[in-house]
């Protein structure tokens, strides 16, 4: 466990909320890396505008991601005298620099480590009781000897003691009394858990950053609940295995990132045509091509929405926070099974690899409930692709007597036999569209909050920053709404019109160089033609609450 995780855990045990992301240089292992923490007495969903403390045990080549470590002149840089000069790109922020001999202090404690000294120092500076570390350290060191634990606690204490001489920066305040049950979870684990709660029992996948941890969490979890994760030879195999398992009646999923999604596209079209439910979680990273594997971006929206060949309507969803990764993935399983269609869930590196302290999510009723057929009346012929009122046709699961059929990616008639007739093509295209557009998705289609004649439209992980920006702007007297669609496809024009009723100006916030979300909104929704402003930038730099607030206030 890293020092950053211990700090987050200790704060959580002391009653605080927080989140921790990570960033690093290009090395496979070792090299410069930073844990990016935000701690707060109230739940937080996005990185803050800047850091109050930057503590460096070593600098190495930290300048390579200096832009991801914004500081102000009020921030405090704590550096070990052994670590050398503060890199110019960091010093340029103008923050106060103090030295703390962490390595030297650690040497004085048998078994002491510099990162434990650092933990103690930060705890002291932000006002976190050192006692909060006892349980966290105990857990982290459970397999080691008692003296290792004692050495760590001594080091934390020594760090706290040494930091007393440093001038305090921002303090954490006091935790809320009466806390609800809380979890510490990453977006990747939350998505995996949501999938399992939704009923997924078969996963096939190929490792790829930043989706791998979702799969590594799911593999043992599936074993426990009677499912299985198969490591496939590539993404072509992954998606087709998942489709094969789903054809067999088992709710199935695969998870990947952009390059893997690109390989899966043909088979996702097969799932559309053969009406086989399957969930594909795409944990987005910087693209195109191999891009920036370890860093976030919201640039797979186009491929997820429009990448399939042919007219191939399918579900596209996006969670709006770490906690929402659970809800949205579970809902995606439910929807995919209900409408017998593939669902692409767009998570991203920033939420997937962020560990957050959240209030325990509510139990959800959304589970896989596929319409199946169990028996036929004598002499009745089973029609797998029957044209029903809802467009959803009861599916025969292999093993069901009398209902044998061949699922097909070739266009087909109602029975499933291949057909190139215009009438069958139109009927089946209509059916596959209407089962999606006629479905009642309810209020979960989007996060809709606030009031006023200004609206901010965003999606995915930038939602948290926008929500915080709106709270800040409200303190400045500006009222605005937040609309973040969770269900990106099929679009919900009537619900959007209702959410935007009375809105005069719209700010679109997204993390894509091409403004993919903005173009999607223009294509799928009736937005006012003027007074729609786009605030976008590519990854990996997060959209920060302060700059969104600035944009909004500049409109007055």
């Amino acid at each position: 466990m890293t020092a950053g995780s211990m700090l987050l855990d200790a704060a959580a045990h002391a009653g605080f909320y927080g989140l921790m992301g990570r960033t690093s240089g290009p090395q496979i292992r070792g090299g410069e890396a930073a844990a990016l923490l935000r701690l707060s007495p109230v739940p937080v969903e996005a990185p803050d505008d800047h850091f109050d403390i930057l503590l460096a045990i070593d600098w190495l080549n930290v300048q390579r991601f200096a832009a991801e470590l914004p500081l102000t002149p009020d921030s405090l840089i704590i550096t070990d005298p052994d670590a050398g000069e503060v890199p110019a790109a960091i010093a340029a922020y103008g923050a106060r620099i103090v030295e703390l001999p962490m390595k030297e202090l650690a040497k004085k404690i048998p078994g002491g480590r510099a990162n434990m000294i650092a933990l103690g120092a930060v705890a002291e500076l932000v006002g976190l009781p050192v006692s909060a570390f006892t349980e966290t350290l105990g857990k982290a060191l459970k397999k080691k000897r008692q003296d290792a634990l004692e050495a760590s606690i001594a080091a934390v204490n020594a760090g706290a003691e040494a930091a007393k001489a440093l001038q305090a920066t921002a303090r954490l305040g006091v935790p809320q009394g009466d806390l609800p049950p809380r979890w510490a979870i990453t977006g990747n684990s939350a998505a995996g858990y949501g999938a399992i709660r939704g009923g997924v029992r078969f996963v096939a996948a190929y490792p790829i950053t930043p989706a791998t941890e979702m799969l590594e969490w799911m593999a043992p979890a599936l074993q426990k609940v009677g499912g299985a994760l198969v490591q496939a030879e590539d993404e072509l195999a992954s998606i087709n295995m998942a489709i094969g398992a789903s054809f067999g009646g088992t709710p199935s999923l695969t998870a990947t990132s952009g390059p893997g999604l690109a390989l899966m596209i043909e088979a996702i079209g097969l799932a559309v045509a053969s009406e086989t439910p399957v969930v594909v979680v795409d944990v987005m990273r910087g693209g195109p091509s191999t891009g920036i594997p370890t860093k976030t971006e919201q640039s797979d929206l186009n491929i997820a929405l429009y990448g399939l060949h042919g007219d191939a309507p399918h579900l596209v969803l996006a969670p709006t926070s770490v906690a929402d990764c659970l809800f949205t993935t579970q809902w995606a399983v439910h929807l995919a099974e209900a409408v017998q269609c593939p669902a692409i869930v767009l998570s991203d590196q920033s939420m997937a690899q962020t560990r957050a302290v959240i209030d325990r999510p509510a139990d959800l009723a959304f589970v896989a409930r596929r319409e199946t057929v169990s028996a036929l009346a004598a002499e009745e012929t089973y029609k797998r692709y029957a044209l029903t009122g809802t467009g959803v046709s009861p599916m025969a699961i292999p093993g069901t007597p009398g209902c044998q059929y061949t699922a097909d990616g070739l266009e087909h008639s109602e029975t499933g036999s291949p057909s190139s007739q215009a009438s069958d093509h139109l009927a089946q295209l209509d059916k596959r569209l209407h089962k999606l557009t006629d479905y009642q998705y309810g209020d979960h289609w989007a996060v809709v909050e606030g009031e006023g004649d200004v609206a901010v439209l965003t999606w995915g992980s930038t939602t948290g920053a926008v929500r915080e920006a709106l709270a800040l702007a409200q303190a400045d007297g500006l009222k605005a709404r937040l609309v973040a669609p969770r269900l990106l496809y099929p679009a919900q024009p009537e619900k959007m019109a209702e959410a935007l009723d009375g809105v005069k100006r719209i700010l679109v916030v997204e993390q894509s160089h091409l403004g993919q979300f903005h173009k999607y909104l223009r294509a799928e929704y009736d937005l006012p033609t003027r007074d729609v402003t786009l605030f976008n930038r590519p990854g990996p730099l997060p959209m920060r609450p302060g700059e969104i607030r600035q944009r909004l206030l500049s409109w007055r």
């Binding site: 087709n240 097969l270 069901t400």
Partner: protein, 277 residues
């Protein structure tokens, strides 16, 4: 009541669907279809217990002509689709079927890994050394000097050797059959289905439209002079002197099939404990 014992015995005909094949008259795939139905009937299986998965090509049209469950997927991906089905529903009898282009070219990587993974299903390749469906291009098993519009003068490439690759990749059952001998093919298919693990059958199945000369295969094939071996290296040595016309089961291994246990020890709700603070 056990429905299996009560149900009347089925014949090969009961495993055929009403759909008329799109194949050219004389195509070898007709008899492969018959051999499969015969094998399934002889094994006493019920149509609903069987699923046949395929990719794309003339040969890959086969599942719809059966009265079993079927999945006609995308080009080259029959093996992973079949694996996903078998691993999640181990009680089903699963077959994958397709052509040489589908299995050895676009799906070549899956062929290696299906053999290596050794899930318990049977793969029937109808090899006609040509892409039939796209009207006559060379496949990985085509002779180097076979002339085509796409490869004037031939590819100049030495052919892929399916049995060698299957054996080297870990397949647990390796055989060659000839569509002109439907009874022999049916026997091999039945043996393959019964044998645990990944069973591979290369069926020489002439394309009378684009490789008319393959009609001569019936004069060239012969039953393998030696019985199947369970020794992988002996099987490999036999393949070194094999001229491609020996018909029969080459190898029957004893590898344990890959199959995750699928046994629940707790509920999904129980997993919550690891996140709770």
């Amino acid at each position: 009541m056990d429905s299996k014992t009560a149900a009347p015995a089925l014949t090969a005909k009961d495993f055929k669907s009403d759909l008329k094949p799109v194949w050219c008259p004389g195509c070898g795939d007709f008899t492969v279809l018959s051999s499969i139905t015969k094998a399934l009937a002889e094994l006493g299986l019920r149509p609903e217990e069987v699923a046949v998965v395929s990719g794309i090509g003339c040969s890959s049209r086969l599942p719809a002509y059966l009265n079993t469950y079927g999945f006609h997927g995308v080009h080259g991906r029959a093996l992973p689709t079949a694996a996903g089905l078998k691993l999640s529903r181990p009680e089903l009898t699963v077959l994958a079927a397709g052509g040489d282009g589908d299995g050895y070219s676009i799906g070549g990587n899956h062929f290696l890994h299906a053999a290596r993974r050794n899930a318990d299903f049977t793969y029937v390749v109808m090899d006609n050394r040509v892409y039939g469906m796209t009207k006559g291009q060379p496949s990985p098993t085509t002779e180097p000097d076979w002339d085509s519009a796409l490869t004037p003068g031939g590819t100049g490439l030495s052919p892929f050797r399916p049995l060698v690759i299957a054996l080297a990749s870990g397949a647990n059952f390796v055989a060659r059959a000839f569509s002109g001998d439907p009874n022999g093919t049916a026997e091999i298919i039945a043996e393959a289905i019964k044998h645990p693990g990944f069973s591979f059958i290369e069926v020489m199945s002439p394309c009378v439209t684009f490789r008319d000369e393959q009609r001569q295969w019936k004069t060239q094939v012969r039953p393998s002079p030696v019985p199947a071996t369970s020794d992988r290296s002996q099987a490999a040595r036999r393949l070194m002197t094999d001229d491609g016309f020996n018909i029969g089961i080459l190898f029957k291994g004893d590898r344990t099939p890959y199959q995750p246990p699928l046994r629940a020890r707790m509920t999904a709700a129980d997993l919550e404990a690891e996140f709770a603070l």
